[in-house]
Structures are given as C-alpha cells and as structure tokens.
C-alpha cells in the first residue's frame, strides 16, 4: 500500500462515517445557536430576546405559531378557538410513509393538531380575529383543517365585526388530501369575498416561506398585504421555475424585497416593528 492509497482509504472511511441525512436545524433546545446567514454563534437567550432575529446580521429566523402569537398580541389577550377541529385521512393516503404517521410525527414535533392556530385577541388594544400558520406542521400545508379553521375565523370576524388578520407560512396545498385540499383554496377565498362584502378589514402578513396554494388563495387577497423582512413568497417554487425555463434565477428572486419592487405587496416590516405597524393600520381603519 502506497502512502497515497492510505490517504484514499482513510478519506473513504471518513465519508462512509458521515451521517446520511444531516439535520439542518438541530439547534432547537441548545444553549448556542448558529445563524444560518452570518454563521455567528448566538446565545439562545439573546436570540429569543431579539424576537428570533440575529442581532449580528438581522436575519429573521423562522418562528412557530405560538411564538408569533406571543410576539404579536398584547400579553394574555389571545383566546384560541376551533381547537376541536383535527385532521382525518379521507384518501387513506400512503406514499413513502402513511399520512396518519406523518400527522402523528408532526403533532409530536409541534404540539399542534394541524398547521394553523386560530383565535381572537388584542393588538395594541385593538381586537382582531386571527389565523396564524405554523410551518413546522407538515410544511404549513393547507388541507381540510387549515381551510376550515381559516374560514371559521373569518366568519367569526364578520359576526363580531372585527378586523381579520392572517399570518401565513406554508409550502402550499396538502398533497395527501388531493382535490379536497385544492378546494380549501376556493373555500377560504369565498370567505374573503364575504369579508369584502361586509366591509371587514382583512390584513395578510406573509412570512418565510409562503408558497403555492396559500399564495394563490387567502394569502394574497388582503386589503393590505404586509411581508415580513426576508420572507420568500411565490406561487411556483424556485426549482420548478428553473426546470421550466432552464435559466438561472436572480439571487433575490421571490424575496419580500423583490415582490415590493414589483408591486405585489404593500409593506415590508421588520419583525420588531410588525406589531406596531399592524396596530397603526388597525387604528387608521377604525370606524
């Protein structure tokens, strides 16, 4: 064996010893967190104190629905509703894993029954109805439960005559429910039509990431559309577009800033300003 061979063998052994599927986000629960954008080592407590925004480079980390609610609402005012609605498996769908199993794992990971939390509460003293999506539950995908809860909370907004706010974070429709999930786009959009007719203010806050079925339904038909800084928002995914047109896409393609430039959103807000931006808009539209 030459020295070169020895190095070759050692290299192969090292490659073989690597984990097959390295987890990107294994930071949760750890004391220190590495910023995805600038690689800075951040103390978790500091990061949380900064609303999960990197104090070094201003990168906005993805946050779950409960954290979002805590950041947005006046303390202790959020009252959750429609918790009793939970997912079924109408198609008895099985791909590499059964839908039932995916639901179980998602629940375990997020402690949620599906990808949206709905309820009412106060933002800077103004009462609103609200739906907050959670990307951690099966990529925030919209199936029957998301569609139903979003529709119900919109109907509740009409009943109580209070503004409606939707905070989106979704990869799109839930394929495991096939055409049923497609119809949730129609259902939620019809509910927005009723908000319009009742002259109820409807604000959408698009957060990282918002794609597909949510972009093509209740996400982009707000009276006012706010995008959180750095969020990526689109109809088709980057990879699909690249494969279709066989061109490289601009680096900032589908970012909130890109969409603002092309006239697709009204406002870009940093996370720290979001609550105040929302509160100001609510007060401006108060009758």
């Amino acid at each position: 064996m030459t020295l070169k061979d020895w190095f070759e063998i050692r290299k192969e052994q090292q490659i073989a010893a690597r984990p097959v599927d390295p987890k990107i986000d294994d930071n949760i629960g750890k004391l220190w967190v590495k910023c995805y954008n600038c690689n800075a080592q951040l103390l978790r407590k500091d990061l949380e104190h900064h609303m999960m925004v990197c104090p070094n480079c201003d990168y906005h980390f993805r946050i779950d629905a409960r954290t979002r609610i805590a950041q947005l609402f006046d303390e202790g005012t959020f009252e959750e509703c429609f918790q009793n609605i939970t997912p079924a498996d109408p198609l008895e769908f099985v791909d590499t894993e059964s839908y039932k199993e995916r639901q179980r794992k998602a629940k375990e990971a997020t402690n949620l029954d599906d990808a949206v939390v709905t309820g009412t509460g106060l933002v800077e003293g103004e009462k609103i109805a609200c739906a907050v999506m959670d990307f951690g539950y099966m990529g925030g995908s919209m199936g029957s439960v998301v569609g139903e809860k979003v529709t119900r909370i919109m109907e509740e907004a009409i009943k109580q005559k209070i503004p409606m706010v939707a905070v989106t974070a979704s990869g799109g429709a839930r394929m495991q429910e096939s055409a049923l999930s497609l119809m949730q786009m129609a259902k939620t959009s019809c509910a927005v039509a009723r908000l319009n007719e009742a002259k109820i203010l409807y604000i959408t806050i698009l957060t990282e990431p918002t794609y597909g079925g949510v972009t093509a339904s209740f996400g982009t038909i707000g009276d006012i559309i706010i995008a959180e800084q750095g969020a990526r928002i689109g109809f088709a995914g980057r990879r699909v577009i690249e494969q279709t047109i066989r061109q490289k896409l601009p680096a900032d393609f589908q970012t909130a800033e890109y969409l603002l430039k092309h006239g697709q959103v009204d406002i870009i807000s940093k996370r720290v300003d979001l609550k105040h931006t929302l509160g100001t808009i609510l007060k401006l539209h108060k009758k």
């Binding site: 939970t86 429709a173 096939s178 119809m183 959009s189 019809c190 927005v192 093509a216 109809f235 393609f253």
Partner: protein, 316 residues
C-alpha cells in the same frame, strides 16, 4: 392519430379485419363470417378496456394531442362567438380565450383555457398554461357577464398556471386568488367543466362555480401526478402510483363531493368523436342552466358559497 400503448391490441385486431376484407375482395372468397367474429371480438375488447381504465391510462387520454380543445367546442357547441381580447394592462394571454356566444340560442359568456395541437399552436397558446394576465382577462370577462346577466361557462384543460419569472413578478398567485374571490361574488349562474387536465390552482382559477362537471377521462387534482411523485416519492417515474393515490378521476371526485357529475365520453375518449362529445357537454350545460333559471343573484351567490363551504373532511 397517436395510438396509446394500451390501445395497441385493438389496433392489431382492426388491422387483421382490414387484411381479411382486402383478401376477401381480391380472391372473391366470402369471409364475412370471420370478419364478423373479429369485429365482435374487437368491440368486446374495447368495452372491457375502456370501462376499466386505470387512472394513469385515463391521464394519457386526457392528454391526448388530438383531444378537442376550447376552439373545437366553440365551433361545435356555440354560435355567434365574439372573442374579447386582452387584460387592458398591456397583454392578451392566448392561453385563456373567452367572450359572449349563444348556446342553443341562449346568450352566455364562455371562457376557457386553450391548448394547441401543433407545435406552432402550442407556442401561441403556451401549452395551455396561463399567465396572470390571462386570469385578469378572465376576471374582466366575469365582471362583464355579471353586468349584463350572462351565465358564465368555463371549459378547463390545463396542466396548471405557468411557472415563470414574469409570471411571478406580475403576481401569478395573486391573480388566481383574486379570481377565486371575485367569482364568489358573481350574481349569475357559473358552470365549470373540466374537459381534460384540471391541474391545481391554474384550473381552480376558473372553477369557483355553482356546478362543476368532469369529462369521463378528464382529471382534477391539486398537483400533477408527476409533481406529486417527485416530491413525495422523490421519483417522477412513479407518477402512475401517485395518480392512483391522488384519486383524481371522476368517480372518486364525485364520492368526495367535489364535482356534480361526470360527462360521458365516446368509446375510447373525446378525440374519437368530437361531435358526440360537444353534444354531451352542451346537453349538460343546458340542463344545469334550466335548474338555476329561477334563482336570484343572491341565491346563486349563496349556493356557490355553501357548495365550497361544505368541502373538506376532518374530525371534530
């Protein structure tokens, strides 16, 4: 005409019949009995085959290059069609075509996605994949119909809204969403018919209606089976498995309450008999219009809202 792989046995039998006929003519021997037997066989085989198609096979029929397209139906089903062009913001998307016309003498607004049959046509119609400007043109036509009390008929055959840079920049998602919302507000009857491919938001953007029908071999789904297979199975080659799992054919859709009916196709698919197909669709449209004749604008809106409000399966 393109023969689909599973149709090959039929083509073989028909070839044989043709050969026997020729032989009989040339030699003067009477082979009519043999020919009859073969014809009988071919008929039985066809019936057996076409009544038990798998989703993946139906998919092939739905995508058949000779399948009648929007303009074929306009020619066969309507009179006095006047095409209205453009979104009034700088573009006329050819993937969506529409305008007022008469069906059986009754004025309607008919709008649909358009696919070509040749490469040149396909380039013009962008393979039936609309841009946001197409949906905005459709919206302009919906509102026109609403003002002048024209029932809206949509014919849908699209593999989805176009995924491109310009489409994203000009708001593909927003344009579809706007249509979903505004279609809910129309005070006229709206009837949607999926004539071929009904893929995802691109199809739904014309389908928020009081009645939805699907042709026998057409399909309606949230994502193409190829797309689904490549995401969930990480292998686009498993499209036929995904097609089974997604339950995209008429009878399944009927079972889940997503559509109101399946429109029968001629033996082998719409491309074998354009006139029969157009006639079936026309009959369905006229019957649906009759059903809704007495409804007020508010009742039509409420009917549409309730229809979609009911959709979805969950526990509570």
């Amino acid at each position: 005409m393109l023969t689909l792989d599973f149709e090959q046995p039929i083509v073989n039998i028909e070839k044989k019949i043709e050969e026997l006929r020729k032989m009989s003519e040339e030699s003067g021997i009477d082979l009519s009995k043999e020919i009859e037997t073969f014809e009988e066989q071919s008929k039985e085989y066809k019936k057996e085959l076409y009544e038990n198609l798998k989703p993946a096979q139906k998919l092939q029929i739905a995508r058949h290059p000779n399948r009648p397209n929007f303009m074929d139906y306009i020619g066969l089903m309507t009179t006095d069609f006047i095409e209205m062009h453009g979104d009034r913001c700088g573009m006329d998307d050819r993937a969506i075509i529409g305008g007022p016309a008469r069906i059986d003498g009754r004025p309607v607004m008919i709008i649909g996605t358009m696919k070509g049959k040749t490469t040149k046509e396909n380039l013009e119609y962008n393979f039936g994949m609309p841009q946001p400007q197409g949906y905005r043109k459709a919206l302009r036509l919906f509102e026109h119909a609403n003002r002048f009390d024209l029932p809206v008929i949509t014919l849908i055959d699209t593999q989805g809204a176009y995924p491109g840079i310009k489409a994203e920049e000009t708001g593909q998602g927003g344009a579809i969403a706007e249509n979903l919302k505004e279609m809910a507000k129309l005070g006229v009857p709206v009837i949607a018919i999926i004539t071929g491919e009904g893929c995802s938001g691109g199809a739904l953007g014309l389908a928020v209606s009081n009645r939805v029908y699907v042709l026998e071999h057409a399909y309606y789904t949230v994502i193409s089976p190829e797309g689904c297979a490549s995401i969930l199975w990480r292998d686009a080659a498993l499209a036929s498995t995904a097609a089974d799992a997604l339950k995209i054919t008429g009878n399944d859709l009927l079972k889940f309450g997503i559509i109101d009916g399946v429109i029968k196709e001629p033996m082998g698919g719409a491309h074998y008999d354009y006139e029969f197909m157009a006639n079936e669709i026309k009959t369905t449209i006229l019957a649906a219009l009759d059903e809704m004749k007495e409804m007020t604008p508010q009742q039509l809106k409420d009917d549409r809202y309730d229809k979609f409000r009911r959709m979805g399966v969950f526990n509570q």
